[in-house]
Structure formats: C-alpha cells, structure tokens
Amino acid sequence: MLEKALQGGRRYWTWLAAVGAVILVGFVAWLWQVRVGLGVTGLSRDVSWGLYIAQFTFLVGVAASAVMVVLPYYLHNYKVFGRVTILGEFLAISAVILCMLFIFVDMGQPRRVLNVALHPTPNSVMFWDMVSLGGYLLLNVLITRVTLDAERKEVAPPGWIKPIIILSIPWAISIHTVTAFLYSGLAARPFWLTAILAPRFLASAFSAGPAILILLCLFVRRVSRFDPGLEAVRKLAVIVAYAMAVNCFFVLLEMFTALYSDIPHHVEHFRYLYVGLGEAKALVPWAWTSAVLSAAALVLLLVPGLRNNLKVLPWTCVVVVFGLWIDKGIDLIVAGFVPNQVGHVTEYAPTLPEVLITLGVYGIGLFVLTVLYKVGLAVKEAEAA
C-alpha cells in the first residue's frame, strides 16, 4: 500500500524535499551533539531536561488524542467520525514516533538505548513509558493497516480487529498517564508532585490534539478530493472546547492548592513562571503568553458563533495549540527545575544546535505524517471516485 506514497505531484515532492532538508540539517546537528556530548545544548547540572523532553511530553498528548475520534466512532458508532479516524490514527503514529525520537536525542549514551529492554526495570516509570509508547505504536500501525486495507478492497474490516481497536482506547489514556507519572512521582520536584498532573495532561492533550486534527482536516479538504466532512470538523471543535475548559479548570485547581496552602517549595516554581525569581525571568513572557492565549482560546471556543465559523476556527486552533505547546513544550518541564533542589536558580535557554535538532526531529514527524496521509488519501480518493 505504501507505493501510493510514490505517486504525487510537484507540490508533494517539493514539500517532501523541503522537509527532508530540515531533517538533514537536524541530523548533522545531532551528529555534532553525539560527538561533543549534550554539552552543546543549553542544559545544565541544574536544568537537566529541557526542549527535547518537553517536546516529548507535548507530543505524547497529541498521540493520545486519537482516542477522541476513535472512541466516538467505534464505541458509540458515531458515523461522522468514520471519515476522520484514519487521519487521527496516522497523526497518532507520527506523534509516537516523534516522542521516541525526542527521548532518543536526549540520551547521553544513545548507543545503549536497548539497555531499557535488556535490563527491564519495572520499578522505573520510564520502563513503563517505553512499554506503553511501543505498544501504542504497534496497535495503531496494525489498526490503520488492517482498516485501510479493508477499505481499499471495499470489504468490511475483519472482526478480530475490533477488540484491538477497543484496546487502543484505554491504551491511549495510559500513554499520557504514564508520561505524567514520570514527573508526578518525584518527591524531589514539588512543582510536578501533584495528582492532577495526569488528568491535566489528558485534558490539554484532548484539546491540542483534536485542534491539530481540525487543521489537518481543513488542509486535506483543500488539497485533495477527499472531504473529511464539516460536521466532523465542527464536532471536533466541540471536543476541543470541552477539553480546553477542563484543562484551564485543572490548571487553576493546581494553582489554588499551591498558592493558597502557601507552602514555599510549591509556590516558588509558580513565582518563577509568572513573576520571576529576582533577575531570573526567562519564562515570564512565555507563561503569560500561554495564559493569554488559553483565555482567548476559551472565548473563541465557547461562543458558538465563533466556534462554528469556519473562517475563525483555524485561527482558534492555532491559538489553542500554541498556548498549550508553551505550557507543556517549555514551561512545565523547565520550571520544575527552577529553583533546584538546594534553592539555587539556574536558568535555561536552548542553544542553536538544540533547536536545529528539535526542528529536524519534527521534520521526521512531518515526513512520516505526509507519507501516511498521502497513502490514506489515495485510498479514500479511489473509494470516492
């Protein structure tokens, strides 16, 4: 079926070449990082995780969000989503691959990556993260392969795939829960030590993920003969709205507990984020941008006239994604390390090689997504024709 990815017009190939160039630059930067060490990044003894791990955290959410189309379609037989499930699942596959790559580029000894499997350590959440992410990737590859193949042959998908699809639903929840547990189980880091982290992760995931999917659906409508359907897009917008409202609620819950209890170790990280600690204010503009974007997104989503307006909706989605990306893709990880365990403040800013590697990894994700969508759309177009 993959051969369909080899038939495309000029725009398709130009796009792939452009993405390939970004990947190539990132790859060269990564070779440099492997040669010199992670010292080429802005990471430090005090802020030991940064851009890479934060992207991983954000993208696990994007991967998990496929469940927002899979669940209504397969559990509730909500037919409108039948046309977008494959798009959601392909997005999930690309996002999981990105997650794995971001973990990989963050490693000090990438050659030893298999040690996680060779010496399975069930007491480590990272071990379970590997299990859940790997499993989720396999599930989605299998599901998309079987369902798309059936669609191409114009037959119903085989019966045995249904339980596997059902299994992928709790599995999606599990990947983001386990990812939250990576952080929320650490006594050393009061900022993350909160039971609301997993639900908060899921809420922001179910907002940002479907928002990306809406943008992809609208894009697909323009560039191909396959129409995912405006009703599906509008329904996705409702999901984004609910999830965004829940996410904002959870963030406020977390702030209430930290700020009202006024326990210094918990308050300090929020102070660093929103007002800065002394001269250290690097994240303050980001934190407020995220807060303003989230508030704006909430208004754009909750007012029906704005949410249903297809001219406004793409912009709303961009606001949602960017606001939540700042929150999870920068603030949440870095602020957990500032101040450090003995109260010292060391700031973090990514370096150029670090940014190039990050863009290169995103490039791989885009490449995979493009190829998968190309195949999926070819099948859908043939079906429509």
């Binding site: 995780w49 000090g108 040690n115 590997m130 170790h265 365990q341």
Partner: protein, 262 residues
C-alpha cells in the same frame, strides 16, 4: 491461616510488580509497619555504611576544602569553569540550601553562615534507584551503598530529576579533557553518563572491616566520621548518640545515611 497470608502476599507481590510505587503499598499491606513518622522502615540492623559530618568543626574552618580536593583527585572528578557543566561528588553548600526546612530568619548568624559538606546520602530508600530505567544505579544489598554502573547508564538523567539533594552530576562533555591529572588507580568516565559519590567503594573493597573514605582520611580536624550504622559500637553510632543531628529533607522518607551534627 498462614498459607492464606502467603497467598495474599503473592498477590500483593504481583500488584507490586505491576503497579508503580507498589513497594510502599507492599510495606503497608504487610502490616508489620505501624504508621510511625515514616511508612518506610529504615534498615537498622546488619551492615549499613554511614557518615557523620560535624558542622561545628567545618564552620571553624570555613575555607577548608581538603575533603573535596582529596575526593575529586582520587576519583578523577573533572574541573569545569562553566558551572552548568560542573561535576561534584562532595561540595560545600549553604546551611539553608542543605536544610531548607530547618532554617529561619531568627536563627543565630553563626549557624546560618555555616557551609556544610554535602554528598550523596546513600539513602536507605533511594529515589534515584527507584526511577532508573536500566538498573544502572542500584543499592548494594550487603552494605546499603548506592552505586552506579557506568557501562549500563544510558544518560537519560531521570536519576538527576529524582534525587532531592542535587547529588548527581552528568558528563555533558568528555570529562577526560578537563582532568588536570589522572589517578591511574581509578577509572575515568566517558561523556553522557551520570556520576556521584560512591562512599569510596574501592576503599571498602580493600578494607571491608574498617574502611576510611578519601574525604574522611583527608580531613585534618576529624569533622567526618565513617562507620557501620548497624553497629552500636561504631564511630558513627557513638557520634550520633551524644549530640543533636539533622539529616537532609527527612520529610521525604528517603532515609539518608549522612548525618549532620549541629
């Protein structure tokens, strides 16, 4: 009844392997633990190496760095100008930094101004070991030393995130380029792995009955004492019996093996 109990334990064991944080649950389920100040039962019998630091003596010699110099020389700990890449096995920390919950603004200036040597606490319940995805960091069963396998470490730095004491350092670049001189009796490290104090396991191996770590040996003022916590007659237990001591962040339940005489 006994069998039933055993079956129950087996079930709990399965739960423990499946569930994260299962170990703590296991301890509670076992019921042998009353809810005292900490749900984690600390190892108090058998061999458990520990250190006692006399902060008064250290304060009397505030400029002394002998223990640090001796340790870092013996273990080929590299020196970096850039604090971001710093590697520290033992260093002097402010009193408030070392004991964030045990200081207040009305405290005597003398105590507050003390800088205290801090190092890996070789916790009885070490969070770094709990989070390590490969078992590269582990607690040695026979004597409680928290060790590192430098050849297994993948450099994910989860242990750095998990350590509440900042005791762990990562080799951001090749450490061998930053060694003024190399001690041929101890390995150097490669870039991309985490390292920390090992309670001088190499010395423990050579003199298991009465080991003296490099820092203890280097201290001219007898401010550092090393010994077996499980032995009431040991120097550490005698030091602990006489005076008030603190451990770092006791509320986290890690059970540090490094004690501070105040």
């Amino acid at each position: 009844m006994d069998m039933k109990r055993r079956d129950f334990l087996k079930l709990a064991g399965v739960g423990a392997t499946l569930g994260v944080g299962g170990r703590a649950l296991w301890e509670v389920v076992r019921g042998e633990e009353a809810f005292a100040s900490s749900p984690h039962r600390e190892t108090s019998e058998g061999l458990r190496w520990a250190m006692v630091v006399d902060t008064v003596k250290c304060a009397e010699h505030a400029d002394c760095r002998d223990c640090i110099a001796a340790c870092h020389k013996a273990h080929n700990v590299p020196r970096f100008e850039d604090p971001r890449h710093e590697i520290k096995w033992i260093w002097r920390e402010t009193f408030a930094g070392a004991f964030p919950d045990e200081n207040h603004v009305f405290m005597g200036r003398e105590v507050l101004s003390r800088t205290v040597p801090v190092l890996c606490n070789h916790c009885d319940n070490p969070p770094c070991v709990r989070v390590c995805p490969t078992g590269a960091t582990f607690k040695r069963k026979k004597d409680g030393v928290v060790m590192m396998d430098m050849h297994r470490c993948i450099g994910c730095r989860y242990c750095i995130a998990g350590c509440p004491y900042g005791a762990r350092s990562f080799n951001w670049v090749d450490p061998r380029d930053h060694l003024p001189e190399v001690n041929q009796d101890y390995p150097t490290r490669t870039r991309g792995v985490v390292e920390k104090c090992t309670f001088c396991v190499e010395r423990i191996a050579l003199n298991p009955a009465n080991p003296v770590p490099a820092c203890v040996e280097a201290c001219r003022f007898g401010a550092l004492v090393f010994g077996n916590l499980g032995d009431e007659a040991s120097p550490v237990r005698r030091a602990l019996a006489g005076r008030f001591t603190l451990r770092r962040k006791p509320g986290l339940g890690t059970g540090p093996s490094v004690f501070y005489l105040i």
